[in-house]
């Protein structure tokens, strides 16, 4: 086979390869590099940040410990990189808060600002190379060890030898390509996807007072009279960091749903785009305050909540989370409740006893198939139910940091 562009890539060997530049991958790569490992982070899209930038998720969840009431002080669940990124975002004007939403504290942020802050942090990190527009196409492995990765970009194929690999793809892609054990919930139980788009030009009072209820009335009437597609019933509106910015999130049922199938993903993306433009056209014509509204951005990809989960040396369960179980030397703490979105009924929350955080063992971040394969983010080793808690950004950052350190440590 001819690899005409192999020489175009300077990196031939790396201590740690991180696959996927979402929040878990950023945390993993920066932490591994800071621990002294030569680290390569590859991301197939044009920006770091994953769901929190490319899918336009605009609130960082799971950064702060749960509080019984507003009087309790706000505490980061995980000091270290999750806190560092949140504070950098706030300093850069890319996040404002935290704000309390019901029983939860979240940090609203601008998706594009998160990508820019991630660019800056990674650029300033010694030992770290970031390659955007680069995809993993295959892995070479021996007994219990991953040895090298095939990467491709724009028709070029590269082979990079690795000492360890962190799968931060969100879909356990590296694990799947290497033949590592993984699990996936049945299609009818997977957490449903969301399509998020930005709206500008609306009046700043467009969501004030009971406006959301009036919008609900308007949209339900339009769906009932077939002026809007039924998928519009999944839409919710929220202000962004600035009052002039509105985010619309459409929860899609997407049946038959398979988040690892390109046919399904193509259908989901096209449906999200179509319904977004239907909604904005309808609001411009009929909703008070939306007369001059327009779509300011659509996502680079739909928001995927759940797909494959890598099978690890240990498996975090629903009971662990609901009982706030502790482990000796936890790699990370997860504090978000189970947020189940298995159907279009909207979220169903289940809170842990006494709002206690759960300790995630490092064994949940280690593949049971390959000794040098780690996992971080929403596809760590856990049950389908537990994944409904650990998928949020704060926890992804924390498992990323822990996986990065652990992957760097096996060099010594």
């Amino acid at each position: 086979m001819n690899f005409p562009a192999t020489n175009a890539l300077h990196v031939k060997k790396t201590d740690v390869l991180v696959v996927g530049g979402g929040t878990a991958g950023i945390a993993a790569a920066v932490s591994a590099a800071r621990a002294g490992a030569r680290t390569l982070l590859v991301e197939r899209r044009n920006a770091l940040g994953g769901m929190a930038s490319n899918a336009l998720v605009h609130t960082l969840c799971g950064l702060y410990l749960l509080r019984n009431d507003d009087a309790q002080p706000l505490t980061y669940a995980n000091e270290g990189f999750p806190r560092e990124l949140a504070e950098r975002l706030i300093q850069a004007g890319g996040a404002s808060g935290p704000v309390r939403m019901g029983k939860l504290d979240v940090l609203p942020h601008q998706p594009a600002a998160l990508a820019a802050v991630a660019d800056d942090i990674t650029r300033r990190t010694p030992n770290l190379t970031v390659l955007l527009h680069t995809d993993l196409t295959g892995l070479i492995s021996g007994p219990g060890q991953i040895q090298a990765a095939h990467l491709q970009s724009r028709g070029h194929v590269f082979e990079v030898a690795v000492n360890s690999l962190i799968d931060a793809s969100g879909d356990a892609e590296a694990g799947a390509l290497a033949g590592a054990a993984f699990e996936c919930a049945p299609a009818d139980r997977l957490q449903r996807p969301a399509y998020i788009f930005g709206i500008g030009g609306a009046h700043e009072t467009a969501l004030a007072g009971d406006a959301r209820f009036r919008l609900a009335h308007l949209i339900s009437g339009a769906v009932a009279s077939s002026q809007l597609s039924a998928e519009a019933l999944g839409v919710a509106f929220r202000h962004g960091v600035s009052q002039n910015e509105i985010w619309a999130t459409i929860d899609l049922q997407a049946d038959p749903y398979d988040p690892c199938s390109p046919e399904c993903l193509t259908r989901v993306e096209a449906c999200g785009r179509r319904v977004s433009f239907e909604i904005i056209r309808y609001l411009r014509a009929h909703a008070e305050g939306f007369e001059k509204a327009r779509i300011t951005c659509t996502p680079a990809q739909a928001g995927i909540r759940e797909s494959r989960r890598l099978s690890g040396l240990a498996c975090l369960t629903e009971e662990d989370i609901l009982q706030g179980r502790q482990v000796e030397k936890p790699a990370a703490l997860a504090c978000w409740p189970l947020e189940l979105r298995e159907n279009s009924k909207g979220p169903r929350f289940r809170f842990p006893e006494e709002n206690r955080p759960v300790g995630i063992s490092l064994d949940c971040l280690r593949s049971r198939t390959f000794e040098n394969l780690f996992v971080a983010g929403r596809c760590i080793s856990c049950t389908h139910e537990a994944q409904a808690s650990i998928r949020v950004t704060g926890t992804c950052l924390a498992t990323g940091e822990a996986a990065g350190r652990a992957a760097a440590a096996i060099l010594r």
Partner: protein, 84 residues
């Protein structure tokens, strides 16, 4: 003429079953006077509820009646629906 208590109870029961079957994950002991927003009702859920109410009761509630106070309990929503 005031609605008879039986008719009110029937309407509330029908509404509660719509809510628990198709809109929200309600606990089995959820009562018609319990707070629906505490149970997860939001504007997206209200959209779907309005469509179900229209199908089940044959009436469309006017926009002026759709607000936080009127939708806080099953009992209050049922009171907005005209007698059959």
């Amino acid at each position: 003429m005031a609605e008879i208590p039986d008719a009110i109870a029937k309407k509330e029961a029908k509404l509660l079953s719509i809510l628990s079957d198709d809109i929200l994950e309600l606990e089995p002991d959820f009562r018609t006077t319990d707070d629906l927003f505490e149970a997860g009702l939001d504007s997206m859920a209200i959209m779907r509820l309005l469509i179900h109410v229209e199908t089940a009761f044959g009436c469309r509630l006017p926009v002026s009646q759709v607000n936080r106070e009127n939708f806080s309990t099953v009992q209050k929503i049922a009171a907005l629906i005209p007698a059959e």
